[in-house]
Structures are given as structure tokens and as C-alpha cells.
């Protein structure tokens, strides 16, 4: 009897040890010990953490609305973490949602429309100019605004080693792709395996030059007028791009972005291309050593800009619909998008100002080399084409494979046209996506057309 009781006791103990953690946790308490309303904030940005944390500490110590911000940085797998937290009832009140596709936050009801809050906040309107920062399919859908950017990342620029160019007899970046490749070829030849004309990374290399050359040449992967994917226009750019490898122009290795940046910073190749984040990279993270570097516009096919260059709106905050404190959450967003917060943020060079108001407020001499990446008149945000369920490689991978010579250019284009449109048609038929049509689409002003979402 005693033995049996012991056994039962032991079994019960083991069971409780295993089950205990499963049922531990409980509901989240949204009031701190000091009686303040706690607003949970999630961000996926680590690079600006120091500044944001210091301002949050300042806010927590000084705000008169009895609010305490609890900031959590989740730099990996942010989307999935947010989705899981939302499903599990532990989502934050406010989140930086600018990098999440709109269908994942709007159609699902995860984020709350901010229209009413914005309408009632003149200070927010003054600083953030929200009604001129509505990008259909990016931060807004069907008239609902889910977040407003506080900054912009520029489109791609050519970043070049001035000393190497001068040494090889060049003073500026050519305006046509052909001349640009010719120059790179000449520098590689003069470099004689000591330095090269151009370098490419293995991380989305097509996006970092040739795709942007295509954009400013009026070539885009989505035919907005007909609501179809169309990759046919890329052929001349791909044919030119192939020269980088058939003529042994490029640095003979494609490594991770930081490795290639490091090689550029020591003068291993003369031409590199990327967006405005390189300002901080080449001054702080991987400082350029012993030469002057310049920033220039990407070349085009003909030398003339006939299409808009894509910029990326950044650092936009949204309210998660499960919040129990929407008013306080909005106050937190007002703080993150206030003049005081943004002035320091933009002057620290984390991104470019997205409004004329903030551009006039900040001291651009403090932003360092970021000033070289100032937005051009032909830069804008494209309306987002439908998000589809695609099988196989995406167009960037396929096109880079074509540039490298692994697949035929015509076959690559035909394959992409087929796969993308089959996926789009199937998704529209199942209701997983809608077909975006902009009948008055202008490639130089893609954001100014009238979008329609078709269900067939």
C-alpha cells in the first residue's frame, strides 16, 4: 500500500512538473506597479535602438498622460512573431509595421485604421503630412490608413571610388548602362587583377543595380494598365548585364553584402550600388579607408529617365487591433512621430526625411553623407502589385541566374510571365488576392494614378 502511494505521489509530481510550465503565464497585465498604463511597443529595427530607447526612457519619465512604453526589439522573424502573438492574445499595442505587406495587416484586421486619430490631430498632420503620404497597397487600402512613414530610404545609387576612377581616367558616372559597363570593363582591365571595375553581392544582386536601371528606364514587372505581370521589358537590361560576366568585368566573387562592402571599402573595386543605408555603412560600420567616395544616380538604358525610381517608406507605426488602450496607443504614436523625436532621429542619419516640413526643420549638415542620397524628383513609392503564392524562384533570382548565364534570357522571361500570371489568376480566383489595375498609370508618376482592385 505504502509503495503504491509513493508511486502515485511520484507520478503526480512528474506530471505536475511537466504540466506546470504549460499552464503558467496567464493574462498580460497592462498596468504597471506605479499605476501607469503600459503600452507594449514592438519594433524590428535594431540599428536605431540606442536613439529610440533613450527617447522612450525620456518619455516614460516625463509624459503627463500616465503612460509607460515597454519597447521590445524583435529583429528576426518579426512577421511570424507578430502573427503568433496576435493569435495567442499577446500582441503588442503598437508595432512598427511598415515592412509587413498590407494584405497581412489590413485584410486580417491585425492593424487598426488610423484615419480618425489622424483627422483629430493637427500637430501630427503638420509634422507628418499624412494625406500626402498615402501609398495605396503599401500603407493604405480601400481608404483606410494603417501607418504613415516617418522617413524614407532612397532608391539605389551608384557609390564609387573617386580615386580609382580618376586613376583610370574617369571623373563621373556615365548616364547610360552601356557606357557604365564599358567604364567598369576598362577599370577592370587597368586593374590587372589588383582592383576591379565593379562588385556584386550574392544577396539579391539584381535588385541592387539592374532592376533599378530598368525602373528609371521605364521598365517594371507589373503592367498596371492591364493588371498582369509582364517581364518582357527586361530583356535589353539583362543582355547588357550579362556582359559583366561574359567579359569578366565584375570582381570574381559574390559574397554577402557586408563582405562586399568591406572589399569596396579597401578599394578592391570601383563601383558599388545600394540605397541610402550605405551612408552610415561607409562612415561608421565599415568606414572607407584611404580614398574619397562619391554618390551618383544609376544609369538608364538611353541616358534619359523615363520611369520612377522606387523608394521605400520607413519607420511607420501602427496600432494593433487587439489593444485595450487605443487612445494611449495613439498618444505613443504621436510621440514617435513628433517633431522632437523625428528631428533627432533624422539628424542622426537613420533615414531621409519623408516630408517637406521635417526636411525644413532638421539641420542637414548633421546628417553626414546621408545628404548625398537626398531624394530625386523622379523617386517615389510604387503602388504594390498583388502579393501572390508563387512556386519556384522569384523574378530577382531568375533574372540574376540569366545575367550569370545559368538560364536563357528569353526562357527566363517566358517562365516568369507564365508562373507569375498563373499564380495571380489562381489567387484572384480563390479570393486570396485582388488584381490591381491603374488605367491612368504613368511610369514617371506611378503613385498618382487611380487604383482599382478587381476580383476577376
Amino acid at each position: 500500500m505504502k509503495k503504491a502511494a509513493k508511486t502515485l505521489l511520484l507520478a503526480g509530481l512528474i506530471l505536475s512538473l511537466f504540466m506546470g510550465p504549460v499552464f503558467a503565464g496567464g493574462s498580460k497585465e497592462s498596468a504597471s506597479a506605479s499605476g501607469k498604463t503600459v503600452i507594449e511597443v514592438w519594433s524590428e529595427d535594431r540599428h536605431d535602438m540606442e536613439y529610440v530607447e533613450s527617447k522612450v526612457a525620456e518619455f516614460n519619465a516625463t509624459n503627463t498622460d500616465n503612460i509607460q512604453i515597454n519597447l521590445t526589439i524583435i529583429s528576426d522573424n518579426f512577421r511570424n512573431m507578430l502573427q503568433m502573438a496576435f493569435s495567442g492574445g499577446t500582441a503588442p499595442d503598437v508595432a512598427g509595421i511598415n515592412a509587413i505587406p498590407i494584405n497581412m495587416i489590413a485584410d486580417t484586421g491585425i492593424a487598426m485604421p488610423l484615419n480618425d486619430f489622424i483627422a483629430e490631430s493637427p500637430e501630427y498632420q503638420k509634422v507628418n503630412d499624412p494625406y500626402n503620404q498615402i501609398y495605396e497597397g503599401t500603407n493604405s487600402k480601400n481608404g483606410n490608413i494603417y501607418w504613415i512613414p516617418t522617413g524614407m530610404r532612397s532608391g539605389v545609387r551608384v557609390i564609387y571610388n573617386k580615386d580609382l576612377l580618376e586613376k583610370c581616367g574617369y571623373t563621373e558616372i556615365p548616364s547610360t548602362l552601356e557606357a557604365y559597363i564599358d567604364m567598369a570593363k576598362d577599370i577592370t582591365a587597368q586593374g590587372n587583377n589588383v582592383f576591379y571595375g565593379i562588385g556584386f553581392t550574392n544577396a539579391s544582386p539584381f535588385e541592387r543595380l539592374l532592376e533599378m536601371v530598368s525602373e528609371v528606364s521605364g521598365i517594371y514587372y507589373y503592367d498596371y494598365v492591364n493588371g498582369r505581370f509582364d517581364f518582357s521589358g527586361y530583356k535589353p537590361v539583362l543582355e547588357q548585364g550579362r556582359r559583366f560576366f561574359t567579359e569578366n568585368i565584375a570582381y570574381p566573387d559574390q559574397q554577402g553584402v557586408d563582405n562586399m562592402r568591406a572589399l569596396f571599402s579597401v578599394g578592391m573595386f570601383a563601383l558599388w550600388s545600394n540605397a541610402s543605408q550605405e551612408a552610415a555603412v561607409f562612415t561608421e560600420q565599415i568606414p572607407v579607408q584611404g580614398f574619397e567616395w562619391g554618390v551618383a544616380e544609376v544609369p538608364t538604358l538611353t541616358g534619359e529617365v523615363t520611369g520612377a525610381l522606387e523608394t521605400t517608406p520607413s519607420k511607420g507605426w501602427g496600432i494593433i487591433s487587439s489593444t485595450k488602450h487605443p487612445e494611449e496607443a495613439w498618444k505613443v504614436i504621436e510621440f514617435f512621430q513628433s517633431e522632437d523625436f523625428l528631428k533627432g532621429y533624422l539628424e542622426a542619419g537613420y533615414c531621409l526625411p519623408s516630408t517637406d516640413y521635417m526636411a525644413s526643420i532638421i539641420d542637414s549638415s548633421k546628417t553626414g553623407r546621408l545628404a548625398d542620397f537626398a531624394l530625386k524628383p523622379y523617386e517615389t513609392v510604387y503602388p504594390k502589385p498583388p502579393a501572390i503564392n508563387l512556386s519556384g524562384n522569384d523574378y530577382r533570382t531568375v533574372f540574376w541566374n540569366a545575367v550569370m548565364g545559368y538560364v536563357d534570357i528569353d526562357e527566363a522571361i517566358a517562365d516568369l510571365n507564365t508562373r507569375y500570371n498563373e499564380a495571380l489568376d489562381a489567387d484572384v480566383a480563390s479570393g486570396a488576392a485582388t488584381r490591381l489595375v491603374i488605367s491612368d498609370y504613368d511610369p514617371l508618376h506611378p503613385d498618382q494614378g487611380t487604383p482599382e482592385y478587381l476580383t476577376e
Partner: protein
Amino acid sequence: MSNKGMKKQVKKEDRRDRISAILMLSPVVFLLLICSIYPFLWMFRYVCYDYNGFSATFTGARNFTRMISDTTFWSSVGHTFEYAFYKLVFIIPLALICAVLLNQKIKGTSVFRAIYFMPTVISSSISGMIFTFIFATQNGILNGILMALGMGAPVQWLTSPDHVMTAVTVLAVWGGFGNYMLYFITGMNVISEDVYEAAKIDGANGVQTFFKITLPMLSPILKVVLMLAITGAFKDYEAIMVLTQGGPGNRSMVMFLYIYNMIFGSGLTNMTQPQIGYGALLSVVAAIIVGLVTIAYQRIARRLDDVM
């Protein structure tokens, strides 16, 4: 005690034992249900859905038809078989040879055992990164050595479709053979010294001893190691993801890396999204493939047993 009373007593004790057994088993069963059965059923739930982590749309048999025409997936299956073949061909003999050498009673063998085992405890993503530097074309350590030995042009280990499988296999063998070597050494330690002494008295040389005694007596361990190596090779993808991202031109894209990309949306562009439903279907197919390979291996192993 009467017969009836005794029966009653036995029954009572049986019941008590059963209750204890159920209670003792319940944590394990609970964990099995939560951590294994539930995720498996969860995965099946989405096989007929487009699910991006936020919203799910029922699509019927569309994921199946997509899979059949998905050439990237089927080529990744082919690459997985190729990779597994290369890995097994090199890793098992190498592990066995090292085990035999390091099982000798020579000073310093434990140091070598530790050195060879060390890559096993290094995270595969870290080793992938280390090998990126080793295999770099222009300033890589391997090409530096080869050039110093008189090789003309640097080899494009990671950017040439002709060489990338070699690079990936080298990394896999380096990262895994120490583990299998330890299994073999453990197996050898179980073989009685008397058998070796008897063979010595009979005049067997080292090679004969290895093939006639060590190898046959290691066969139970060898079977387990082979099974682990086969399933491991079919499931490898982390180091490949860091080293080559499946490139160049999908040449090193293995099936679990492709599935990972589908489910976690690695390399997402503007208009593609995580495809958890489709990835779940591919995972089921991949599991079936690995299962079939394992069954085939077990049958072959059984036949070999009969022959031996």
C-alpha cells in the same frame, strides 16, 4: 486466503499498477501529443490552403497540382539525392578510417578525437560562414593554398555550378564525420580483445583483422550510423543556406532549403509571400521521400545480414 480472495487481491493490484503506469506515462504521452502529433496534424490542416501566416484561403487540390509542375522543387529533390550520395560516400569511410586509427593504443589519440569531434559541436550556420571565407574565389584560404602549390587560376568554389557541390560536400563531411567516428570508436571498444588476440595467434595481419573481425563485428553500429547518416544527409540545409543560399543557379538547392524558403519567406520580394500551406505539402512529400529511402536502406541492410 481463499482462491476468490486471492483473485480479487491480484485484480486490485493490477488496477493499481495500471493507474500508476498511466500516470507515469502521461507526461511523455502529453509531450508526444503536443510536440509531435499536434504539429503534424497542424501541418496537414494547411496542405489544401494558401496560408501566409495571417490569413488562410482554401484552394482545394491546387497545391498538389502546383507541386507536380514545380520544377525547382523536383530539381531540389535531385540535388538532395546527389548531395546525400556524395556525403555518404566520403563521410562513412573517412569516419571509419579515423576511428580505426584513433582506436590504437598510441599516445595523443584522445587529442585527435577531440579535434575531429569539435566541428560537430560548432553551429552549422557558423561553420557555413567560416567556409565562405575558406572557399572565397579571390582571397579565399583554399585558393591561396592551391595557387601557392602552382594552380593557375583561382577556382570559383561557390559561384560556379561545376564546383559548388564539391564545396558543399566538403563542409558536410567536415562538420559530420567526427560524430560518426565516435560511434565507430564506441562500437570498437565493445569488441572483445580476446577475438583480436585469437586472430593474431592465427597469423592474421592488420587488413585481414579489419575486414574479417572489426567490420563484421561493427555491423550493428554501422547499420545505425548509416541510417543516421542517410536521414541526416537528406535533412541537411542550414549550412548550405549560409554557404550558398542554394545557388549558384539553384545548383545547391536541396529540398529542405526550398521548403524553408517557402515557409519562412526567405528572399521575399514585393509580391511574394510566405507559403505555409504549400510548404506544408512539400514537407509531407519530403518526409515520404526520406521515409522511402530509409525503408529501402533497411531492406538492403537486412539482405546484407542474410548474406553475411
